[in-house]
């Protein structure tokens, strides 16, 4: 009996060591040491975008306050939380507060508190947006970004350091971006089955909102079916965007080309999602190229700016 146990001990030890190594590797992957400045620049872009979004790109949310309450069909989260039926006053209040807190986060005045407020308000803004019969998926990564950015240290003294906490926040956004594509493919196959690939979704989209670029394509259904295969192939391959090196860069540029094509043919902009695609870029270079560091920023030697991230970011 003792010999039997002894025989398995090395195997168990090896398995345990492998699990430990895998867990450590996963931990390093989720917490890459990235320049804190990268998160700082990304945070600025995100909060500036929220102001633009509330005023311009998601202005239609404000319409909902004027609608009859019977048309408000809250999402699950809106049914669980005691959220009020939208009114013009409520939506004006959210809009104003979003602008104010985003501005505070943008200029680093109580950025954590302001960031948490922006997340809570924007979440409610989106619950209203998606509780009238339509749910978009282009704001998922933005919501994740707003959720994780308050965890990034507000201390400007760390701006020139590498920071695993900042790396974690950026990694979360990257994963959310990838999941947006991957889950879109899952949704297509879940509801349409494999037949979706040979269906007429793009024909319908062009009939509904095609541009001058897209309208002539209606005459070539085989081409549109081919495009549907390519879209699903890209979405299923999107996790490769998280890989280091050339493969990741190719997928990132494929995403950009995909959105350019979608905009040219269907006028669908995916702006909130595109903003989050910036989380893959070495944004800290923008700051170094800028006129001057922020007051109080700790100026370090250039070699301390290097990332410990094992794979090179998209240039």
């Amino acid at each position: 009996m003792a010999r039997e146990v002894g025989r398995f001990e090395p195997v168990l030890q090896t398995s345990g060591a492998m699990l430990q190594r895998a867990a450590a590797g996963l931990g390093r992957w989720w917490h890459p040491g990235l320049p804190h400045n990268r998160a700082v620049v990304f945070r600025r872009i995100i909060y500036a975008f929220v102001i633009v979004d509330v005023l311009l790109t998601s202005f239609a949310v404000g319409w909902h306050g004027e609608l009859p309450g019977e048309l408000y069909q809250p999402l699950l989260i809106g049914r669980i939380l005691p959220l009020p039926v939208p009114t013009p006053l409520l939506l004006s209040g959210i809009k104003t507060a979003l602008g104010a807190f985003s501005a505070l986060a943008l200029v680093r005045k109580r950025p954590r508190l302001a960031g948490i407020a922006v997340f809570a308000l924007y979440l409610e803004w989106m619950i209203v947006n998606f509780s009238y019969g339509k749910v978009d998926h282009d704001r998922f990564a933005l919501l994740v970004a707003l959720a994780v950015l308050p965890t990034v240290s507000p201390d400007a003294g760390h701006d020139e350091d590498t920071d695993e906490a900042a790396g974690w926040a950026l990694r979360c956004v990257q994963v959310a971006v990838v999941l947006t594509y991957f889950m879109a493919a899952y949704a297509k196959l879940r509801f349409g089955g494999i037949a979706w690939l040979n269906g007429s979704t793009l024909v319908r989209a062009i009939l509904r909102r095609g541009t001058v670029v897209a309208d002539p394509l209606i005459a070539y259904p085989v081409l549109l079916i081919g495009a549907q295969y390519l879209i699903v192939a890209f979405e299923l391959a999107s996790p490769l965007m998280l890989m280091k090196g050339r493969l990741g860069r190719i997928l990132w540029w494929t995403a950009i080309a995909f959105h350019a094509g979608v905009y040219a043919t269907l006028r669908l902009s995916f702006i909130p999602h595109l903003v989050c695609l910036l989380a893959f870029l070495p944004l800290e270079r923008l700051r170094r190229a800028g006129p001057s560091p922020e007051i109080g920023a700790d100026m370090r030697k250039p070699q301390q700016l290097r990332s410990t991230e094992p794979h090179a970011p998209v240039p």
């Binding site: 239609a60 319409w63 909902h64 004027e66 609608l67 009859p68 019977e70 048309l71 069909q73 009238y132 019969g133 339509k134 007429s200 024909v203 319908r204 009939l207 509904r208 209606i218 005459a219 259904p221 085989v222 549109l224 079916i225």
Partner: protein, 90 residues
Amino acid sequence: MPHFEGVTDSGIKLKLETEELGLRTAEVLGQMDRFRHHPALLGRLAQTHGASESASSRLVELSLVRGIHRLKDGRPRGYSEEIVSVWRER
């Protein structure tokens, strides 16, 4: 593509895009079954629309119309419309 058709208090017939009543196209598509089974919802929309309009352009009838494109071999072959639901002021 859905749209609305209304008749005002002064008898004028109007074609209204969904946005003119505060709903995006996909939202109307998402609640199509509710509009079909509860025409009173159209009445509530008409009232909301009327709140910002003059008395003569108040809607007394509102219909939800759905456009249907027929396809053959993946190409459009004909267009028709279905009246999904109608509300009339009593």
